[in-house]
Structures are given as C-alpha cells and as structure tokens.
C-alpha cells in the first residue's frame, strides 16, 4: 500500500498535469509559409569568415590609416631639428657625473 501523499505532492501532481495539458492546444499551419517568406527576404546567408579572412579584412581596413600615419611621421622627421637632441645625447655619454636635472631640462 502506498503511503498517503502530502498536500505538496498532490498539488505538485495537479499542477504538473495542468502544465502538460498545455501541449494539446491547436496551432494554425500558416506560420511556416510566413517563415519561408521571411527567410527568402533575408536572402542567402553570409558564411562566418575564418580567422585569416578576418585578419585580411582588418589589414585592408587599417591600410589608409597606416598610410596617413606613415606620411605624417615622414613630414615630422623631415622638418624636425635633431641637433639639440644629439647634444643631450652627447652630454649623457660623455659627462654623466656633471649632468644635473637643471641642465638636462635645459634650464
């Protein structure tokens, strides 16, 4: 003989049954056609690019920025005065014991 069910078990069984009954509702059959219509509107899928393809795309996307950057740096170097920088470098190399912060900062 089975032991008597608790209130909890009885309610759980009833609610489970009610929940499973939801499966029996009828649904129309027009929605499949709508899905296919929407799929055709969306058109063929674009396959996800592989890593080398993604890298290639990124390289080409960054190419104009890189060119601009190279051109900018070339102009900067062409007109830059490297003499003072060279003197500081000489100081550093020849007389490090005489170098003070004030001298290094050009004060």
């Amino acid at each position: 003989m089975n032991p008597p069910k608790t209130e909890h078990e009885v309610l759980q069984a009833i609610l489970r049954k009610a929940y499973s009954e939801k499966e029996n509702v009828e649904v129309g059959d027009q929605w499949q056609q709508k899905v296919m219509r929407r799929v055709r509107e969306l058109g063929a899928l674009q396959p996800t690019p592989s890593f080398p393809e993604m890298l290639e795309q990124m390289v080409w996307r960054l190419a104009p920025v890189t060119c601009l950057l190279i051109f900018g740096l070339a102009v900067l170097f062409a007109f830059a005065d490297f003499t003072s920088g060279y003197e500081v470098f000489q100081l550093l190399m020849n007389g490090t014991e005489e170098l003070t912060f004030a001298l290094f900062a050009g004060l």
Binding site: H8, V10, A13, Q32, A44
Partner: protein, 208 residues
C-alpha cells in the same frame, strides 16, 4: 543508428543552407516544427505561439553559420526555442503593469480542495483542468521571467540541472539556487492565496 543518420542528414542540409541554398531550410522547418511548437506551447500564452515560432526559426536561420555541429541540430534548435521563450517573458514583464488581482473565489475554492488531505487521488483524476491551468498561470505570472523559466523546466518538465543550464546558458549553480528559490516563491504564492492554516504543509514539502 537512425539518430546518427538523422544528425548527419541535418548537418548536410545546414551545409546547403549556409552555402546559399535558401530553400533547403524548408526541410529543417518541416522536420522540426513540431519540436519547436511543443516547447513554445508549454512556455508561452496561446496567442503568442505562432509569432514566436516564426521568430525561433528566423533566429535559427540567421545563426546557422555559427552552428558547429558540436551538439545535434535538434538540441541546438531546442536551445534557441527555450531562450526565445525566456526573451519573450523578459520583454513581457518589462512592459506589463504589476498584476495586483488576487485569485477569484472560484479558484480559491478549487485550490483549497486540491490541496486538502481528503482530495488526493479522486480529486486528482476529476480535477477541473481549466481551473488548474488558470491557477498555474496566475501564480507563474507573479514570478520573474528567470524564475518562471527555471521552474517550468526543472519542476514541471523534469529537466536536470545540467540540461536546464545548457538550455538557458546559465551556470549549474545559478540554476540550482534559482530553482530552489522559485519553488519556494510558488508555494508561498499559493499558500497565501487561500488564508487557511491547513495548508502550511506546503512549505515543508518544498524544502526537499
């Protein structure tokens, strides 16, 4: 064996669709429409099933390039269907006004009879399913979207914690905690719906 051939057949069709054959998708739609409908019927209101079924298949179509075949197509589609249901309830709960109505007298009487000690088997068999569904919907409507989904999957459909975590994309620990809490909430809702001292045993049962 049949399952293997079905899986490889699905993978072949998926390959065709991804390669640009849009019409091949109709095979998948016809094959798995019942699977999706069964999932949606359980989780959604009747008037939302058709529209959401369309959304599930459109979402699946758009995600096909990401299908790697690590799980079967059936499992992959089930996951999309369950997550679409979850998204539906999240949107629904955001846009709705907080339901304040309590159970009607008819439902209160039904609930009281349903959980009374004398009821048991005879009531279970003769129980009015319409009332049962209405009480269930009333209680579920007062839970959050996440609690609702976990409760339905674990408590009513009997999915394991692992299966539920796979379907919803959550951690097992999250599912475990939420499943316990949502069950407590459901019982609290139902016990508070009928102010009677006889039904306090519900909470005792829920802790197991």
């Amino acid at each position: 064996m049949d399952n293997d051939s079905s899986t490889s057949g699905d993978a072949e069709i998926v390959g065709q669709v991804v390669a640009g054959d849009v019409h091949a998708f109709e095979h998948l739609l016809r094959k798995y429409q019942n699977l999706v409908l069964i999932i949606l019927k359980k989780h959604l209101p009747y008037d939302q099933i058709e529209e959401t079924a369309q959304d599930v298949f459109i979402r699946a179509y758009q995600s096909l390039p990401t299908f790697r075949g690590e799980s079967s197509f059936k499992q992959w589609l089930s996951t999309i269907a369950v997550r679409t249901c979850y998204d539906f309830w999240r949107k629904h709960y955001k846009s709705r006004e907080l339901p304040m109505s309590s159970l009607t007298e008819k439902h209160q009487v039904w609930l009281e009879e349903a959980i009374s000690a004398q009821a048991s088997q005879s009531f279970h068999e003769q129980s009015l399913q319409k009332e049962a569904r209405e009480v269930l919907d009333w209680a579920l409507d007062r839970l959050s979207a996440a609690d609702r989904m976990v409760l339905e999957l674990v408590y009513f459909e009997g999915y394991s914690l692992k299966e539920t975590s796979d379907l919803l994309g959550w951690s097992i620990a999250n599912v475990k905690v939420r499943s316990f809490r949502s069950r407590k909430k459901l019982h609290k809702l139902l016990t508070q719906a009928i102010p009677s001292p006889d039904i306090s045993g519900l909470d005792r049962g829920s802790t197991t």
